[in-house]
Amino acid sequence: MGSLLNKLNGSIEKLGILGILTIFILAYPIFPKKLSYEFPSLHGTVDNLWFDNFIVQAVKSENLLKKPYFMSGVDSLHAQPMLFFSSIYLISKFTNIQPWNLEYGFILLLMLFSSILFFFFLYNFNKKVAFLSLPCLYLLWTLYFSLGVLWGQWMDVTGLSFLVVSLYFYSLLVRRKIEINKKICIFLSLLVAGMISSHLEYLYFIFTIMIWIAGNAILDRKNFLDDKHNIRLISLFVLSFVFGILFAFDNFFRVMMSFGKGAGKLVTFKPILGKRLGAHEPSFFDFGILAPIIALGVFFSFIYIWQKRKIPFEFSAGFCSLIVGFGNFFGFSKYYEPRFYWPLFLSIFFGYCLYILLSSIRKIDWKYILPASFIISILVVIIFFGKVPTPFTLVTKYDWEIFKWISKNTDGNASILYLWGDNWYQDKIFWYGERKSYLIDRNNFIKGNLVAKFVGECGVRRKGILYKSVCPHEFLPTEINISNLENFKNFDYIVSWKISSYPLITEKINKIIGDLIENNITTIIYQNKYIVVMKRL
């Protein structure tokens, strides 16, 4: 081992990159296996169907910003930050590969690059800690942290990746004492603009730097504030935010304007530590056996800060991620997305804890660190074996056939009622039909009360140089009661699966279809093996 290390001759970081690549190859179950799926075969949740539809429409209309009529009931613009969409849009246009085949690969690439940078982030702090923190990265692929990729939280992952890059760049300025000038300011501003354009929430970059500045100013005021480089770093931090917002002002204002109506609803207190906040939010205890090690690492880092009387920039990033991730304690219960990158950000505490524990046993040397990191990685993979999920789909080839038929053969203003499909519980699936769509309220349907709900959401419209939030209910009825057969005449087409896995539902659907045809309200115009399309007479 000693001679191998000598041969590496100072390029031991390449072993780290190799380790990260190996961890990424272990994420094989998450990877899409083809680049030529004919329909979105890996999209099974509301968010990934939703974002995929945005990009598919952008590629079709060659307009990135426009939100089609069928999505919001009015021609408007997207209220989302657009970096993820524009990136996939560009590649899709350039390569002629369908957007749904590109999204997973793009996100995994961002995760790979940000993991490599985070490794170097820790490497600059302490090389041994960086190697010992590597096993924690594997948790990026386990439930529930991996849902950031699989459940379509792609804008969040893009934002978090830009956050890692910005933090790393700032940490280099701190550690390598790089001279700060206007070009460095533009560089950092571009990275901040990237964060704004990916997801506004990731401006919590601010807090990392504030913790670092405030902590060091309190602990070692004289040395910290007397250093001119530190003062320049503080000015750079303020200026880069101003310029970052200026670079991405359209993204920034479009999203800010859309916040207006619903911002109050976002503030909810759920002061719980271990339980999940909702159906799929990762919790601290998803770290399993690693959770106590991380907690101990936090404790050791406090001792380090107390003894050295300074906060390393790397620890402030870890603390910030921990504080923001536990936003549920101070009113941000819906803001759980930073937790998707906890395996990355909290790996510093994991690595630091192992480093302290190992060094307490004997003098810690490289010939012990690398085997320790390797063995712990294998143990982590064994412990979490089988917890790496795979993508699943909601769109079947029968659904896709119908959506294509509807988009080609019906009038652009037609309204479609989707009656029942066992897999139609995520309503954004109907946007592939590219028409104004209504879906029956499934709970009411089972109870016998028929209500159709519009499948759409709010957008924004330009008002001078600013934006105004617009929602479908301002322009069209978003709920239509169809308990009476005559009310089915509100829709131009009615689409339904003919069978369900629940016999009672099958009976109910066939009765409705039979009644509609018998009463001369609709007639069957197209059908495949399982799905029927009826046109209003």
Binding site: S86, K93, N101, L117, F162, F187
Partner: protein, 118 residues
């Protein structure tokens, strides 16, 4: 500059091998995708980084740092170009095809001009 080259080539080849390994059925698509990433993001990214940061600053970064910074800077540059061209109604796809090349050539000309003035 040697440090950049020493990282970029092996990493690019290794990455291509991994991609081919994963998507064995779609070699043609993989190559298209691979070169589109290089052209759309890495080219404008590298051009921006080398024209924005001076020689002494670049020396303080390692090859992998320059490589990843370039990729992310390329992402944001491409995004801002597409976004603002859309806002001002320049939506011809040809512009998107051309901009990474034209943008990089312009920056290189600017660098050459600056060097000549000195």
């Amino acid at each position: 500059m040697n440090r950049e080259k020493s990282f970029f080539l092996p990493f690019a080849i290794l990455f291509l091998c991994i991609l081919v390994m994963f998507y064995q059925e779609d070699i043609a698509n993989i190559l298209k995708l691979y070169f589109s990433y290089l052209y759309l993001y890495l080219l404008p990214g590298y051009a921006t980084v080398f024209s924005l940061l001076d020689k002494n600053t670049i020396k303080k970064f390692t090859g992998i740092e320059i490589f990843i910074f370039s990729f992310f800077i390329g992402l944001i540059i491409s995004h801002l170009v597409v976004l603002y061209l859309t806002i001002f109604n320049f939506r011809n796809v040809l512009i998107y095809y051309l901009f990474p090349g034209v943008y990089s050539i312009l920056l290189l000309c600017f660098l050459w001009y600056k060097k000549r003035i000195r």
